[in-house]
């Protein structure tokens, strides 16, 4: 596996007007707060046909026949297509992870099913017509005959002998198996005085962006344009090119305003390919917008790991090693990169601790459920969750304060190479924890907690100290010869100064709420000596700016922002040469101060960027050999990842009679390097916390044993509202990353990666007097109540726990019950 180096980028002084670091309000907002923004579903082209998709009600079945006659006869219906009609597609939906030397099973996954379905909601046919209501009626008239096959939904059962095989060609439900070791793991446990083991179910969740997916395709004059609610328009174009057999020059993909992603739109869905195919076939614009029910069933899910984790330690608390085994439920088919997600858990399996030996064994499994793939945090929340809860348990085992245990094992020297080869760039883990505790006042809480317990009120505090891997990423680590991702992970930027001195900056990233138009404008403004209001940031359109790699993995700032900064610095360098030429000075003597390019020592001689642009675009007197124009590009591929970190603390109160959990206080200190715009950071942290609180307390994608989706709407998939969560107390420290010149790390996923173990640990701390030591998420009132019942040895609690089995007993196909349902509970 390719491992990135720890080369250091020198931080640059922008020299401009000091907009970086300011809490500027967003340039994006005027259109959004007035209802004038344009999301995909807001667009209609003349002659648009609407698509309604016929979906499988079966989780596993052979398709015997599809009768579309009745649907075709309905008024306004223009066409009905099935999988057979799409036989001319050049390729199925690709999955881009092919790790060298590892066999990964990738079944053909077509936009419309061919012969067989593997999950409820799988597209089987599409109806196209002029009336958006009429096509829904027509879709109901498409008659599909199925021959049901046995269903398997539990990943551990799916690995057992005799389980129904979902893809017969492989003879197994195992998707792949690989391991990421580092250090001497056998010695780690041989030398340990204490070993703690846990089994943790990190359940399936949904991204649940409030904007459902939507795609509008137009075929005109031999060219295709797709507008789509996507995080990855550039990647989408490449994949459309492959699947449709069209060259990229004939394809334009636009991500207009996008209403949230959280990873769920880091995807090229079959429906996107389908509307393009239909538009080309029929020569008319075709639009499809998901209902929330379709969204819940067929927008990729996240998490869904069963984690076996073992930590060994010396009696003094020095951890000797960590060994995790991850069973990843992949669903029945893959989309763009699902199987690689648990590998991100492996990247951070050392957490923020100086573990001398680590190992993560990963098994991917097919089940008759929808695909899992990246959802906010993508593998890292699962890792933090298992590490932090196991560290808490180790502390109990050692009779040691859990924070003291953490501090004892914190990594203190940076850059720091972990045993599995990753190099943490920078950090100060004690500092974030110190500040968090200062804000929290732990002693005061412990006094309050004791008093409240006297009165039968159960409050507890839980902590999570975390590190995450962000800024994807160094292509030599991630790419074909490294982990095997079939692509590069650079980012592109182009900074164009217009003739009168205003600026357009193109980024290859593709935001959907993060505020790039503001933050990137601040970066450019400082480097050119203009104000952010004359810097227009353009994104999300493959027909403008260079090819880019879009937005996910907290990469936009650390990779895309760095590319923007470097492109702007190229412009600045050229500007200085022009100024030097005009003012008869040496380029190295030109400095940028408050928007003026002036000669060092003679500030009265100066030019503005507008003056420079005038010279550049009327190239009558440029330095010898210089090209006209003021327009520079940068492709930046980082040398290393970036490693944000922080400390989170949650205080919750448990109603021990009903099991209800309420978060009383939430305090966190995060470090994502120097702030470009603190307002945007706070927003990401707030949202990230609630996303994880959602997983910890409320949200779960549930399938029943027949593979039917039980949580098919927002009635059952319990996204928390404002009324269900409190306000949070946040702060930051700023430890620059040496990886990029901005020193930045990324913050989009940080709080989601940090938060869930803090919430769970706070509940366990609250219930410690009642003997509860473990509960799997989501901590619904009933599960908490059942855990208390079981701990108290009372009758109607769940009989068994999930904690009996160990990692060794789980050889990859060993027995085990799966995620717990309401009938059995998930607690001990």
């Amino acid at each position: 596996m390719g491992v990135p180096g720890g080369e250091t980028a020198e931080r640059t002084e922008p020299g401009g007007n000091g907009f970086v670091g300011q809490a500027l309000r967003r340039k994006e907002d005027p259109r959004l707060i007035t209802g004038r923004a344009t999301y995909t579903d807001d667009m209609v082209l003349p002659g648009t046909l609407y698509a309604a998709i016929v979906r499988s009600p079966e989780a596993h079945a052979r398709i015997l026949s599809i009768d579309t006659a009745a649907a075709r006869e309905l008024q306004g219906v223009e066409a009905v297509f099935t999988g057979e009609d799409l036989a001319d597609l050049a390729a199925p939906c690709p999955m881009v992870w092919a790790p060298p030397g590892v066999e990964v099973h990738v079944p053909d996954h077509w936009p419309l099913a061919r012969g067989k379905v593997g999950y409820v909601g799988q597209p089987v046919a599409v109806v196209l017509g002029r009336d958006k209501y009429g096509v829904v009626d027509a879709a109901e008239q498409v008659m599909v005959e199925y021959d049901s096959l046995p269903v398997v939904t539990d990943p551990e059962q799916a690995l057992e002998e005799g389980a129904p095989i979902i893809h017969e060609e492989y003879g197994t439900n195992k998707v792949f198996e690989w391991s990421l070791p580092g250090g001497d793991i056998e010695a780690a446990f041989r030398d340990a005085d204490v070993v703690v083991e846990k089994r943790i179910v990190n359940h399936r969740t949904a991204g649940a962006a409030i904007e459902p997916r939507s795609a509008l395709a137009e075929w005109r004059e031999g060219k295709l344009t797709l507008w789509s609610a996507t995080q990855i328009p550039h990647i989408c174009r490449v994949i459309l090119s492959i699947q449709l057999g069209l060259t990229e020059d004939k394809i334009r993909v636009v991500a207009p305003e996008v209403g949230g992603g959280f990873g769920s739109k880091l995807q090229v869905y079959g429906e996107e390919v389908l509307v393009c195919w239909c538009a080309r076939k029929l020569g008319k614009p075709v639009k499809w917008t998901a209902t929330r029910s379709e969204e819940m069933a067929t927008t990729h899910h996240g998490r869904d790991q069963i984690d076996y984790v073992r930590i060994g330690a010396k009696r003094d608390g020095t951890v000797t090693g960590i060994h995790a085994k991850i069973i990843q439920d992949c669903g029945s088919y893959h989309l763009i990169e699902g199987p690689v997600i648990p590998t991100f858990s492996a990247c951070v399996i050392s957490g923020c601790y100086d573990f001398p030996a680590v190992q993560t064994d990963i098994v991917g499994v097919f089940t008759n459920k929808f695909t899992t793939d990246a959802i906010r945090g993508a593998g890292r929340p699962e890792a933090t969750h298992m590490i932090e809860l196991t560290m808490d348990e180790l502390a109990r085992e050692l009779d040691m304060d859990p924070l003291e245990l953490r501090r004892k094992n914190f990594i203190k020297e940076f850059p720091n190479e972990r045993p599995h080869g990753f190099i943490y760039d920078s950090g100060d883990y004690d500092a974030t924890l110190d500040r968090c505790l200062e804000m929290l006042d732990l002693e005061a809480f412990r006094r309050e907690q004791a008093e409240l317990r006297e009165r039968g009120v159960y409050r507890g505090v839980g902590f999570s100290t975390y590190v995450e891997i962000c800024g994807l990423g160094p292509s030599r680590a991630l790419g074909p010869d490294g982990w095997g991702m079939q692509g590069g992970y650079f980012e592109s930027a182009q900074v164009r100064v217009h003739p009168t001195g205003s600026v357009t900056a193109y980024t290859g990233t593709s935001p959907h709420g993060q505020g790039h138009e503001t933050g990137f404008a601040q970066i450019v403004a400082d480097r050119l000596g203009v104000t952010p209001d004359v810097v227009d940031v353009i994104h999300g359109d493959t027909s403008t700016g260079p090819f880019g790699k879009n937005t996910y993995g907290s990469r936009s700032l650390a990779v895309g922002g760095e590319a923007i900064a470097r492109a702007a610095e190229k412009v600045q360098a050229k500007a200085k040469r022009i100024v030097a030429h005009k003012l008869e000075a040496a380029p190295e003597d030109i400095e940028l101060v408050d928007g003026r390019y002036q000669v060092r020592g003679s500030p009265d001689k100066a030019m503005t960027i507008a003056d420079v642009a005038g010279e550049a675009y009327i190239p009558a007197d440029l330095p010898e050999g210089m090209e006209a124009g003021l327009d520079e590009m940068c492709f930046y591929d980082p040398d290393n990842f970036v490693w944000p970190f922080g400390a989170h603390a949650c205080i919750s109160e448990v109603d021990a009679e009903t099991g209800r959990v309420d978060i009383v206080r939430y305090v966190c200190v995060d470090d994502c390097g120097p702030a470009i715009n603190p307002l945007l950071i706070d927003g990401q942290i707030h949202g990230g916390i609630v996303h994880a609180v959602g997983q910890a307390l409320y949200e779960q994608v549930v399938y029943d044993e027949e593979g039917q989706l039980v949580t098919g709407t927002f009635v059952d998939y319990a996204l928390p509202s404002a009324a269900d969560v409190p306000s949070f107390e946040t702060d930051r420290t700023e430890t620059p990353s040496p990886t990029n010149t901005l020193g930045v790390k990324g913050v989009g996923e940080a709080a989601t990666i940090a938060c869930s173990p803090a919430v769970v640990a706070s509940v366990l701390d609250a219930l410690r007097p009642l003997g509860v030591t473990s509960i799997d998420m989501p901590l619904t009132p009933m599960r908490v109540w059942q855990a208390i019942q079981a701990a108290q040895g009372r009758g109607d609690g769940p009989a068994a726990t999930e904690q009996g089995r160990t990692l060794d007993e789980h050889g990859g196909g060993a027995a085990g019950s799966g995620p717990t349902g309401p009938e059995e509970g998930g607690a001990s």
């Binding site: 309000r25 209802g35 999301y39 409030i210 904007e211 927003g683 707030h686 949202g687 509202s721 306000s727």
Partner: protein, 170 residues
């Protein structure tokens, strides 16, 4: 298909007369017939509130109202409460306090908040959170939304209460 029904409705102060299918949802009437696409659809079960508009002054979920039910009524959408240059205090406050990220839930959130402030000009945090229980946001974690509503309430009361954040405007 059923006979269409005559609908006469005033939207953002403008009278519209249309013939509509009885099953046409108000949200689709606003978006598809009138082109008022600021009102969004986020779910199909009246949970998310992205489609919130005012019907005769009350906040309602326009995905759960038939267009024909608005016959004779006055409807106000996000486009009707303020525009750039003449923002509603809530729009101003959402901007000022970073009460939005992707913006998809924002129109509904602002319309629900306006309903609250019309009933209760001085809501506390708990009251604000309760009043917004029918509006889901996945981006903001709600904290800055609550702050924005508090600020708008203070602004509407004559600038007392919480001072506006000091900052540079771009």
């Amino acid at each position: 298909m059923s006979a269409s029904v005559r609908l006469e409705v005033t939207v953002n102060g403008e009278r519209h007369v249309s013939e509509v299918e009885p099953r046409l949802l108000l949200v689709h009437y606003l978006r598809d017939e009138l082109g008022l696409t600021g009102t969004h659809v986020g779910c199909d079960t009246s949970n998310c509130g992205a489609c919130t508009v005012h019907l005769n002054g009350d906040a309602v979920k326009s995905c759960t109202v038939l267009a024909v039910q608005a016959d004779g009524a006055e409807v106000t959408t996000i486009e009707g409460i303020g525009q750039e240059g003449a923002l509603h205090p809530l729009q101003e406050a959402f901007w000022e306090h970073h009460g939005l990220q992707c913006g998809y839930c924002t129109p509904g959130m602002i319309m629900a908040a306006a309903d609250l402030l019309a009933r209760n000009p001085e809501p506390g945090e708990h009251e604000i959170r309760d009043a917004l229980a029918g509006n889901l946001c996945r981006c903001t974690g709600y904290q800055n939304i609550v702050k924005a509503v508090q600020a708008a309430a203070a602004q509407s009361r004559g600038g007392q209460g919480q001072p506006a954040r000091e900052e540079v405007t771009v």
